[in-house]
Structures are given as structure tokens and as C-alpha cells.
Symmetry: C2
């Protein structure tokens, strides 16, 4: 089997066998196939695409490039949730304790933020002592005792995915739906889960700006799940404005805690309940959709979800006392208020710019090596559709260094649009793909 | 300027500036841009194409990656001929002395054979003593004194082309018309020529199997020439059957000499006269097309072209005595005759298979490192359209080792088709692109 023949076959629109895909991917991770052939292959995939069978095979090959976590000793359906990334998306911090409080195990391997998007690990690490680097044994133990464990990817999980992503990033082959789908799904499938709810974001703050692309990605991932005998469902949800009000790590932890106390922003609460309910249904833990939603809402109202969050934090070495004492979380030393230049209705809050502005303040990473400041960020006082008077606060920037403050402020101001009339209401959840 | 942004721009159908193309190509030859980015770029070019401006810029960048021969000290228009490669194509050996005998300088840098196609250098090197490795000074001297010099590419000429070709060969990006056009033209433009006649082959033995592809390649190369202020004209000619009768190095030299004696096969003579006449016209050395053709025919008839060939050979250290004593050329020790299985008309001689069979006998190279046997090859006794009786010789295989004889014989037999009726006559020259 010659690598160049596989590249040419894909280039000319042929369908590759599992063996041919494995030849390229395994060969690459074993340094038997040179990177210049792999990058050419990836660009051919960018243009020629992959069939459903090919994407599933590719996912499987990437998944098996490292260790696959075995959770068979833990009884019941293990279910995870994955979001394609956005601004202010702290649903993982809410969904994991809600679903675990309902008695369903949630093994969750999360990532770090990059560019305008935040990462669950960074948010969790703003809680003093919280350890996201568990051994597999600790991960299993957390699942058994608490019902949920939230950790970061390790070098031994799907190493081919990291190698491929680094190459794609340097060779203009990131924006390929089958490659994105295989990357996400390979990382999720190593968790030893039985079911997965995908939250595919669309809009200005999402990776998929267009709903049609979000749909294609969701369909590709659901198809992979089906072919790998996993229960997978995808929601396509709005990321045109930030989710909730807080953007920035400790600010988002506070908002997540408030939401677990049933005092969160309506959009964040709604999406968290919807995602949790879908997870319970995939786990056969609810009789109906309505019952699943009701159960999740009850767990927010009766304090059981918050209690589960405290257990989760404590189990991973974190200070669960933050729940009742936000001052224990990292904070900023200064704040800057952005006021509305006129009265009217908020008609747009460009999510990517809010995310980038938060990154500039130190909440996010410009490159993977950037250091972040857990205490800084942006809190929106108004969301799209709300009425404002001239001079009302639109949002507040929390910062520790004013190095990029002006740039961030300008970006935040530009991200808001104030119109005379109320904008047409947009749904939070666009579609369900299953 | 980030390489990945250039790749993405091309991938998304953008038009690259000369600076962007130079960033990739010069960066690659200086080892500042890694091969995995260049191969991804090349695959993006394969799919997204290049505009006429981009192809000309790319050619110029590749050409300037090394030394450009300066022939300005030699008066008059310097004109070359280049063929895209075929089976039995020995026109360079005829055209160079004919045009030089007409008083026009022919600086010719040629290549070696690979796969089923032959190379001018290999043919010339079957003449004892012939040296194709001249210094630039010797090359200029040969042009001044004889009017023509035929040499091989050196490391200092267009090094980026060799580096790119090796990468394309390994990454499935050879079959890209703009990349082929830029590769050919960059190698020709370093010769210091003013004008160029291109012989773009089409048919079973050609790189471009389809006439539409040959036309696109011809148009791309003519456009490059125009943008580089060179006079360039392309003929699209038939390579569905081998050109002339002889395939194999010393066999082709003999046939070329016979043609220079005006005793060559009709198709080879016709194409040689046509190419030579076109060269004279581009050099403003003839008043009309008819006069140019007449002049070339006269030079074959009166022995002046053959005399020029002898001068050319002697000037490059070769034994010009081969012209009158073919036994001085390498020969084979054995021959095998393929007879027609029945009477009828030759309706097809699959050129690629004849070329591959000759390669198997040792006349060509399977890889660039293969050694070749100058004495072996195949001589066709019948060409397409000719009548045969059952048992008549179709062709003869000349060989020194019977290692691949059976395979070669089978291939040659299969390459001939004998039909009851005469096939429709096909033109030798399909189109002129200028």
C-alpha cells in the first residue's frame, strides 16, 4: 500500500477503506508516513470530502491511536455532553451535576479555551484546588462515588487527534466538516461513554457561522455515533450572542453556581435544562421528554444539583466553599462600565468580539501557550431584545491590567447594536438532529 | 506574511500575489517553509487552480530560484523546441541541426526518460563520447560556433522545480495543469531563449491522454510565454501511436540520422519539418510558413542538416563517425519478431504499452535511479493504417537480457490491433495554439 496512491484515490473522489485510512493515520503517528504526505491528504479530504463510512472509520482509527477508557465496571448508561465551543458557554458546569444528581453517570473530558472561545477546564481551574488531571483510576472513582468527573485530555488519549490537529492548523485544513467531526467524536469516544448529547453552536461566536454548516457537522457526528453503536443526539443552538451574561472563568463559575441555585439567566437555564433532559432520555432515565425536563428543573429548585456540584468540586480537590463565598474565587482589581450611547433595543451582541475582548483582558488564550487570568472578563447587563435608556450600563469589563483595555473596550462597544425597534426574537435551540 | 494564510487564500479560490507565491516557493527552497505546508499548498492548487497571472508569476519565481543563462552576447533570436514527452519522439535530434543549419541559434536543455517516455539526453548519450554536461561557457561556445548545443539540466538551473517535482511526485499533486505548465516553462525560460515552440502530445502514449487537457496545458504555457515577453507557439500533436518506427536510444539515433538524410519515416519527417519551420518563423528567419517549410525540407535534402548534426556531435565530444557507421552505436545481442496473427489493417498501436515494453527491455527507467541499456528497444515494421498479411512482421524487439522479454512481448502484442477495415486516418498535428 503506497501512501501516494491513497492520496490520489481520495483526490479523485474515491472511497477509502479502513485499512487505507489506518495506513495514513497510524503511519503518521508512528512516524512512518511523513507529514508532507499527510498534509496533502488532508487538503484532498478538504476538497473531496469523506463518505459517512469513511468518517466513522477515520474516527475509529484516531480513537484507537491511544488508550480507550474502560468504564464497563460502572453500571448503567454513561452519558456525556459536548459543545463545539462558544462564548459564555458554561453549561458543562451545570449539566454534569444535574445529570449526576438524577443518578446517571457523566464522564466528561473537556478542553481548554483558545482564541475567543472559553474552555471548561479553565473555568473549573478558577476554583482553588480543583484538579483536572486525574488518573484513569481517580476518574473512575469520581464517577462511581459522585456520579460525574470532569478532567482534561491526557497524552495517552487519541494522540493521533492532537498530531493531526497541529498539522491541520499549520496547513489550512482545519475547516473541513468531516475532519472536525472525526476529531470531536474520536475524543469523546475514548471516554468509554454509551451516549452523547452534542451542542453544535451556530452564529457569530461559533466555529460554524452558518446554520447549514452546523447542521452538516451535527449530521456527520450523529452518523459517526450511529455507526459506532453509540446513542448520539445533536442540538443546534444559538451562539450569535454570548450564552448567559458572564464571559471569563471565575465570572462564569459564579454564574453557573447561581444557575444551579435556579437563579441563573433565562437562556443559560433553559439550555442547561434542555441538554440535561436530553442526556437523561438517552440514558433511559426518564419516561418522557416532559418528565426529563421536569426532573432537571426540580433538581435545580431543590438544591440537589448544587449539592452534587459541591461533591464534584470537593472530590477533585477543589474548595466547595466557593459556592457560598464567591470572594474565594479569583477576582479583578478594576472594572470599566460600557454605557449605551442612546435609548432603544439591543439588536445584536456580536459574540466573537465579546469573546475576543475577554481574551484581550486575559480571560482567554491567543495561542495555546498563553497564560490566562482566571479573575477577569466581561459581564453583560443587557441581552439581545432588551430595552435600554441612553446611559444605561450595557456591560462591565473586569480587568487586572489595562494593557489591552482600550482595544477590548472598543471591541465591546462595537459588538453592541442599539436599534429603534425590538429585533425579531430568535430561538435558542434551532434544530434537533438524531 | 503567514504561510497558512496563503494556503487558505488559495484553498478558498483567492488570487495570490507574486509576493505570496514567492513566499511559499523561495521559502521552500531556502528551507524556511516546511514541506508539509508546501504539499498542502500544492493540493490546494490542484483543486482551486491558478489564474494566468498566478501561473506566470509562479513560473518566474521558480525560474529565478537558480541561475538564468545569459545568451545576450549571442546575436539573433535564440529559439528552442520542447515536447511534453512521448514514445519514439526523437524530433529534438533532427530539429536542432535543421534550425541551426538555417542560421538560427538553438539552445536546448533536455531531460532524461522516465517510465514509458524516452529522453533526449539518453538518446544523445548512446553516441560514444557525447557529453551532455557542458559548462555554461561551453554551452555558449557551442551555440556560437555550431549554432546549437544540447545539454542536461544542472543543479544550479531552477532548483525549485526539482524540489517541487519531488514533493509533487510523493503527494499526489503531479497531475495539475498549472503546475505542469509552470514546471516546463520555468525550465525553458532559464535557457536565455527568445522564442519557444512547444510540442504538446496527446493520446495513449502522452501525459495528456485527452486533447482537451493537452489544449489547456498548451494554452497555459503560451499564456506564460506571452506574459514573460517570449514568443511561444504550441502544436498539439498525436501520440496515440509511437512517432516514427524506432523506440529505444541508439535505435532512435539511427532513425534520426536517416531522417536527417531525408530517408526517415513520413510522420517523423513531417513533424520535424513542421516544428523546424515554426521555429524559423518565430525567429523571423523566414518570410512565410511555406518558405520556412521549404527551407527545412531543402536542408534535409541537401545534406546540410546532417552536416550540422555531425558538427554538433563532434563539438560535444561525440563520435560523428556514427553517422556513416551505425555499428559504432550500442547494439543488442538478440532480437524477437512479433508477427501479425491475421491479415487486415493495423488499427491501433497503443503507444504507452510500446514505451513500457521498451522500458522493460532496458531502454527506459522505471525509477529515476534505474540504469538503462542504450542498445535495446523496439522497431515497428507497420504503423496505424497499414495493411498486413497474416504472419507479416509487426515489429521487432531488440534486447540483451531476456529477464522481462516475455512480459514485454505480451505487452507489445496486446498493443497492436488488427481490424478488417482500414481505420479512419487521424491527423498528426491537431491544433496550433498561439
Amino acid at each position: 500500500m503506497r501512501t501516494v496512491d491513497i492520496i490520489r484515490k481520495k483526490r479523485d473522489g474515491g472511497e477509502l477503506s479502513r485499512e487505507e485510512l489506518a495506513h495514513v493515520i497510524e503511519g503518521y503517528t508512528k512516524k512512518q508516513v511523513p507529514d508532507y504526505q499527510v498534509s496533502s491528504f488532508l487538503m484532498a479530504v478538504y476538497f473531496a470530502g469523506l463518505s459517512e463510512t469513511e468518517v466513522a472509520d477515520l474516527t475509529d482509527v484516531i480513537m484507537r491511536s491511544g488508550v480507550v477508557v474502560d468504564l464497563s465496571a460502572i453500571p448503567g448508561v454513561k452519558v456525556d455532553k459536548h459543545s463545539t465551543g462558544g462564548v459564555g458557554d458554561k453549561t458543562s458546569l451545570i449539566v454534569a451535576p444535574v445529570v449526576a444528581a438524577a443518578g446517571v453517570h457523566v464522564p466528561m473530558i473537556s478542553g481548554r479555551g483558545l482564541g475567543h472561545t472559553g474552555g471548561t477546564l479553565d473555568k473549573l481551574e478558577s476554583i482553588p484546588g480543583f484538579n483536572t488531571r486525574l488518573t484513569t483510576e481517580q476518574f473512575r472513582e469520581g464517577l462511581s462515588s459522585v456520579g460525574a468527573a470532569l478532567v482534561g485530555q491526557t497524552d495517552e488519549l487519541a494522540p493521533a487527534d492532537r498530531a493531526l490537529y497541529a498539522l491541520r492548523d499549520a496547513t489550512g485544513t482545519v475547516e473541513s466538516i468531516p475532519l472536525i467531526a472525526a476529531s470531536i467524536m474520536s475524543k469523546k469516544m475514548v471516554e468509554g461513554i454509551d451516549a452523547l448529547v452534542l451542542d453544535v453552536k451556530t452564529g457569530s461566536g461559533a466555529f460554524m457561522k452558518k446554520q447549514t454548516d452546523a447542521r452538516r457537522l451535527a449530521q456527520a457526528m450523529v452518523s459517526i455515533g450511529r455507526r459506532m453503536n453509540k446513542r448520539v443526539l445533536a442540538l443546534i443552538t444559538d451562539m450569535d450572542q454570548p450564552l448567559g451574561n458572564a464571559v471569563g472563568n471565575s465570572l462564569e463559575v459564579m454564574e453557573a453556581i447561581n444557575t444551579l441555585r435556579n437563579q441563573g439567566p433565562p437562556d443559560l437555564t433553559e439550555l442547561s435544562v434542555e441538554l440535561s433532559a436530553r442526556m437523561l432520555m438517552l440514558a433511559d432515565s426518564a419516561k418522557s421528554y416532559d418528565q426529563a425536563r421536569e426532573q432537571c428543573t426540580t433538581l435545580l429548585e431543590n438544591g440537589q444539583a448544587l449539592e452534587k456540584f459541591k461533591q464534584l468540586v470537593a472530590n477533585q480537590g477543589g474548595d466547595a466553599g466557593v459556592v457560598d463565598a464567591f470572594e474565594k474565587l479569583p477576582t479583578s482589581s478594576a472594572e470599566y462600565t460600557v454605557a449605551s450611547p442612546r435609548g432603544g433595543f439591543v439588536s445584536r451582541i456580536q459574540a466573537e468580539d465579546i469573546g475576543t475582548a475577554a481574551m484581550l483582558l486575559g480571560a482567554g488564550r491567543e495561542t495555546v501557550d498563553s497564560k490566562i487570568d482566571h479573575g477577569v472578563g466581561i459581564v453583560l447587563e443587557r441581552k439581545v431584545g432588551e430595552r435600554v435608556e441612553s446611559g444605561d450600563t450595557l456591560c462591565t469589563l473586569y480587568y487586572n491590567s489595562d494593557e489591552h483595555l482600550e482595544e477590548a473596550t472598543q471591541m465591546v462597544e462595537d459588538s453592541f447594536r442599539i436599534a429603534a425597534a425590538a429585533p425579531e426574537a430568535k430561538p435558542l435551540i434551532y434544530e434537533i438532529i438524531q
